[in-house]
Structures are given as structure tokens and as C-alpha cells.
Amino acid sequence: MADAPEKARDPEKEKRKIKSVSKMKEIMTNYYIEAKTARDSGKKVAWITSGGPVEPLIAMDVIPVYPENHGAMIGASKMGVDLCEKAEEMGYSRDLCSYARADIASAATNGGPIGGLPEPDFLVCCNNICGTVLKWYEVAARYYNVPLFILDTPFVHREFSDAARDYVIRQIYEYIDFLEVQCGKKADFDRMQEVGKLSVESMRLWQAVLDVAAHKPAPMSAFDAFFHLALIVTLRGKPVVVDYYQGLLDEMNERIRDGIAMVPNEKYRLLWDNLPIWYKTKWLSEKFASHDACLVADTYTSAWSGVLPLIDENNFLETMSVAYTKIYINISIDLMIDKLREMIRKYDADGLVMHSNRSCKPYSLGQYDLQKMVMKELKIPTLIIEADMVDERQFSESQIDTRIDAFMETLKS
């Protein structure tokens, strides 16, 4: 029997594809190749948490590796369940963060999409995102028997005290001391300042990219932001990030000029809260698009640029350490609502979709209260999806399908 004829490409769909994507994939591939071959090139590898200050590492020529980005890759390639189950066999409870579980198992088995992360020479853990990373990095420190630096960023319930400020600033210098010992060389503070400038520049560009979605119709969606996030997380402070985001921003502005919308017939604009559901991004984006709804923004991807106003380029190290303490997930829910309100207005969102993510307690606990505040104050419909970012066993497709339909019905009425 003859092969089925190749499906004709849908020109409408082609038009909507973001052209920069292939460049992005190339940058990430090169980055992982460099990281995996660091030993051969005599470079040090440090594992660092996504909210940690990476700039000093870049300035010291250390290759930063992000287990959380790795976790996202595992989730997106649908290898999460297998690895999570392996971690459970190792004694890690099924209720722990699936990034941590997947990564711990991948280290022990060289599993996952890239056959495990390169081994670290040392670890840098900043707890501004959660307490989980502290425990996870302790596990890694025991497993690889390497030094662990903890940057402790006190949670901001209502106020950020002077004592907390002094504490984080002191630690940023302890961090530099630690790096000098690990790298066997002195820190070059001019270089640090340069890297800081580049980092600020990339945050600015990243925010500008996210801002384009305020345009109606939005030229990109939160799902695109999830994909493009990897660079600001892993490589900020490097020139390549600035170049890339500049190119992406240009492309987005072009799309606006040409009237290209990510969701054809965009009628409803939604805000997403929490991490993506990595193994279901395609399904979710198509599901919402089928209702003419576009997720125009999210609270997650802006975490890497939301604190930009707090950073002073000329005093980068100190202001950065304070700024990193005040990121979205390290503040109390009554401070979070301010940000949500701001975003709902800025992107003119008609509804809020919250991913209640079993893995991430600091992000998810409190969502019910936030939801009530949003409904009461901003009078927009909200939807809560109970799931997990990597562990597909926690995703019930039929149930979520029905709930999205019902939610969209209320939105339309």
C-alpha cells in the first residue's frame, strides 16, 4: 500500500509559529553540551536553584546548571512518572515536589531526556522559592559529597526588616568568598558589575517580551512564555540572552504590526497562576484556544523580571540580593494579591486560571484565599485545576476537560 500523502501544511498555523524558537533550541542545546563536557574543558559546574543569584557564577566562569529546568524538561518529555516512581522506590514520598523526585532519580540512574545532569563541583541553594530546595540540595550534597552554599532569604510576611536586609547582604559577600575558595581564584568585581548589567538588560528585555501580550490580540501566550523562560533562568548575565530576547521582541512587534494573534479569534483573555503543567501544555493551549481563549500572561514567568525596579545596576550585588528576597513566591498572600491585581489590569484579563500544584506548596497553599479575593474584588471568574507540574498521575484529563468547559461557559455568559 502506498504511503499516505504527506499532510499539507496549514498556512494559517505556519503563520502563527514563532520563528525564533529554533534559535532558542540551538542555544539550549549548546548550553547543555557545554555543561556536560565541562570536565574536559576544565570548567567548574555548580548546581543552582532557579531563584538563586547566578550572576556571580557567570562572572567566575562557572557553568551553572539548574535541576529545576531539568525537572521541567523531564516533565515536558513525559518522563516524569517513570522517574518519580524510581524516587519513590528509593524511599522518597510520593507527596514530595516532583522536580526534586525526578531529579534525584535521574542522578541515581542517569535517566531523563539528557541522561542525567553533569555532576556538580559545588551547590548553591537559595530558599527564596521554597523550603523544598534546601532539603533537595542537602540530598545532592550528600550524594555527590560536594560543598553546599545556602543563601537564606527570609520570607516577607508583611514587612522586610532591616535585619533581614543586613542578613542577605552579608550573605552575598559570603557567597563570593565561597566561590573564591571553590574556584581557587579572586573575584573580579568589575566583571561582576558587567555581568550584572547584562543580567538587568536581559530582565528588561524579558519583561518587554511578556508585555507584548498586553496587546489585543496577544501575539504570544503564556505557553510561549513557559518555553522561552529557560534562557532568563539559566543564562541571564550572558550576552547571548540579550541578543536572543531582543530578536524575540522584534519578532513579537512585527507580529503585532502584521496583526498575527497566537489564538485566532481571540475573544477571552486569561491569566495563569503557578507553574505550567509541563506534560500537558499543548493539550491545554489547544483546549483554551478551542474556546477562543488565550492565556495572555502568568504569575510564574514574570518572577525573573518582576523585581527589576528594585535593582540598581550601579550597586548590583547588594540590591540584587534584596530584590531576590522579594520575588513573588517569597511574599505573603496579601502582598501577592497586589501583584495579581496589577497583572489582571495590565493584561486586561477576563478570568483567572489557577493551577493548584501538589508539588509546590509555597505557590499553591493560599491560592483558595487569593481566588476569593480576586472574585470579590475584581469580579472575574476563576478556575482551579488540581494537578502536578511533572507527575502525570495527578492529572485527570476528563475531569479537567469538563471543568474548563464549564468555566468557559460562565465566562461567556
Binding site: 543586613d166 493548584s356 488540581e386
Partner: protein, 373 residues
């Protein structure tokens, strides 16, 4: 009432006890969930710290605020508050520990309706000089916050006096632990659980008096000379609000002679220097006593500490008692188990949701475990 009956009754109905006590003494009651709550300062402010243990079956009101994947301590505590069962409390203090407590503090502050609320955002690492300085700053700030909210002034002398009281309590608690370890039959199986619970609930001076009385009556018990067929068990974990676990273990032939619980020995451990600056001295106890897994002392401190207790107390088997959805403890479990396995110390894991598994099931597991020892 003989001290033992008193502790049994207090631990059985802590809220009723607090209500009655408050009627008598008129003192404020400040709730807390965790042994990092600086009790000595609360006490010096003339209030009584009251520990909340969460854990109840029927969660309703709290479901509107907390997902089901949150530990029963946090959910149960909020439920009690929302059901107005904590009417004897004037407020609560939330030291920073895990991600769940961190968010509970927000939710509690916005919904529970207490006039007084404290966040004590302590350092997470305990092993650097900047962390020590920060710990001292945080405690000094808590003192000020207490003064403001309770409208009192807290003198250094008052703090030192409170420190003395707490040192005495911890001293006597440790004595009791040693007596029980030396002669497990000197006290009923769940006695330690009841005493420890009472220690976190009662007016501390009244508690101390009763505890000293109990010690008095026990002063004649001699250490056992060995030869018993019964097995020596250590319980390790977070909180234990289930005295029946001790009973079931005892019936299976195992005596809980020691623990590494935050409602157990970890509470009693560590003394505060009475001659140093009182705030610094309180900070230093937190930096040196055994850490909870939500804090960082070193990568292996808890494992080493566990092995030490096993050696010192001649432990034959370890029961890990973990609350479901408790991240910090769940992360430590595999490595602690590994430490024990490497030394050939048998251990089992018991996971507690709101309540432990049905008694029959627990009994079978414990019997098999004890038989194996």
C-alpha cells in the same frame, strides 16, 4: 490530683484545661505550632504559650482555605481556629519553618480572627555567624512586637527569670526521660507523651511543680538490671499526637524508651545560658540543640544525632513516625534510614494522615517488627 492523673487529663482535653486555667489566672494564651516558637519570651511577657497539635478527622471549614495535600497539623490547626474552638487564645506566633506553616501564617492572620499575630522569620541555616546575628535580631524584634501587642514591657530580668524556669523544666524532663529509659516499666507506655504534651499546654510554673512531684514519687525506682525480653524502641519524626501508638507498641513487646520528636526530646534538649545576654542566650540554644529538618545545621547532623541516641540508649529498633505531606521529614527519611541500615539497626516507617492506620493494622505491623528484633 496525683501528677500523673493531671497530665493524663490535660493531654486528653487540652482546650478545656486552658479555658479553665485562663478563667483562674486571667493570663493571655498565645498559640504556636512548633518548637522554634521562642516560648521564653512569650512567658516573660506574662502570657502562656499554648501548643497546637492539629490532627482531627473532620476537616470542613479549613477545606475552603487549604488543599488536601497539606499536613494534618496545619489543616487541623486551622480547622480548630475556624470552628472557634480556640476561643481561649489571644493570638498565635508563627516561627518560620516549613512551606506549609509559612502559608498557614498568612491564612490564619487573614481568617482566624485573632487580634494578635506574630511572624518570627528566623534563619533557615543555623551554622554561620551572620545567621546567628540575624537570629538575635529576630528575637529582639519579637520581644518588641510582644511588648507592643500585649502592652507590657519586658525587662531583661523577666527574661532571665523565664529562662531559669524553662531550664528547670527541661532539666526535669530530661531526668524523666532517663528514668524511663533506665526502667521502662516505671511509667505507663504513653506517659512520656502525656507529660510532654502537658509541658506545652499548662501554666509552666504549675507544670514544673507537678513534674517535680512525679519525679519525687519515682525517685525510688531503680534502673533495671537488664535481662528483660522486651525491646528498646526509639521513635523519630515530627509531632506525635497519638499516645495509643505507645500502647500498641508496648503490647507488641516494645518499649519506647527514647525519641527524636519535636513534641518530645527535641523540645527538652538544650539549655539556655543564664548568665549571658538573655536574647543571645536564647538564640544560642536554637543554634546548638538538635535541629528540626526544616532547618540546616549540616548535611548529616540529624543522622549522626540519631545514631548517637541509638548507641547511648541501647536502642534495638527505630520507628519512623511521619506525618503525611510533611516535606522536611519526608526528605530526610531515606538518608536517616540508610544511616540505620548501615549500622544494622532495624527500622520501620509509619505514616500518619489525620489518624494513624487502624489499630489492628498497626498491631500486626508492630508485632512483626518487634518479633524481628
Amino acid at each position: 490530683m496525683n501528677p500523673f492523673d493531671l497530665f493524663a487529663s490535660v493531654s486528653r482535653s487540652p482546650y478545656a484545661h486552658a479555658r479553665a486555667e485562663k478563667k483562674n489566672d486571667g493570663k493571655k494564651r498565645i498559640g504556636y505550632f512548633c518548637s522554634y516558637a521562642p516560648e521564653e519570651l512569650v512567658h516573660a511577657a506574662g502570657a502562656i504559650p499554648f501548643r497546637l497539635f492539629g490532627a482531627r478527622r473532620d476537616i470542613r471549614a479549613a477545606d475552603a482555605h487549604l488543599q488536601s495535600y497539606c499536613c494534618s497539623l496545619v489543616r487541623g490547626g486551622l480547622e480548630d481556629a475556624l470552628q472557634k474552638e480556640l476561643d481561649f487564645l489571644d493570638g498565635a506566633v508563627f516561627p518560620h519553618t516549613c512551606d506549609s506553616i509559612q502559608r498557614l501564617s498568612d491564612i490564619w492572620r487573614l481568617n482566624a480572627g485573632f487580634p494578635i499575630h506574630f511572624d518570627v522569620v528566623m534563619p533557615v541555616k543555623l551554622n554561620t555567624s551572620s545567621a546567628r546575628q540575624y537570629m538575635i535580631d529576630v528575637l529582639a524584634k519579637f520581644r518588641k512586637d510582644l511588648e507592643e501587642s500585649l502592652q507590657v514591657s519586658i525587662s531583661d530580668d523577666a527574661i532571665v527569670e523565664s529562662i531559669r524556669l524553662y531550664n528547670r523544666i527541661r532539666d526535669r524532663l530530661e531526668k524523666l526521660y532517663l528514668i524511663r529509659s533506665g526502667n521502662p516499666e516505671s511509667l505507663p507506655p504513653s506517659a512520656m507523651n502525656m507529660v510532654m504534651k502537658s509541658a506545652m499546654i499548662m501554666d509552666r510554673a504549675v507544670f514544673l511543680e507537678a513534674l517535680e512531684q512525679l519525679l519525687e514519687t519515682l525517685s525510688n525506682t531503680k534502673a533495671q538490671s537488664g535481662g528483660s525480653k522486651r525491646k528498646r524502641i526509639l521513635i523519630s519524626g515530627g509531632i506525635c499526637n497519638h499516645p495509643d501508638i505507645y500502647d500498641v507498641l508496648a503490647e507488641a513487646g516494645g518499649d519506647v524508651v527514647w525519641d527524636d520528636l519535636c513534641t518530645g526530646y527535641r523540645y527538652a534538649g538544650g539549655r539556655i545560658d543564664e548568665s549571658a545576654d538573655p536574647i543571645e542566650a536564647i538564640a544560642d540554644r536554637y543554634l546548638t540543640r538538635m535541629a528540626c529538618p526544616a532547618k540546616h545545621l549540616s548535611n548529616t547532623a540529624r543522622g549522626e544525632h540519631l545514631l548517637e541516641a541509638v548507641r547511648e540508649q541501647k536502642i534495638e529498633g527505630v520507628v519512623f513516625l511521619l506525618l503525611k505531606f510533611c516535606d522536611p521529614h519526608a526528605f530526610d527519611y531515606p538518608y536517616l534510614k540508610q544511616f540505620l541500615d548501615d549500622k544494622g539497626i532495624p527500622n520501620i516507617l509509619v505514616e500518619v494522615e489525620e489518624q494513624p492506620a487502624p489499630e489492628g493494622q498497626l498491631r500486626t505491623r508492630f508485632e512483626t517488627f518487634v518479633d524481628m528484633l
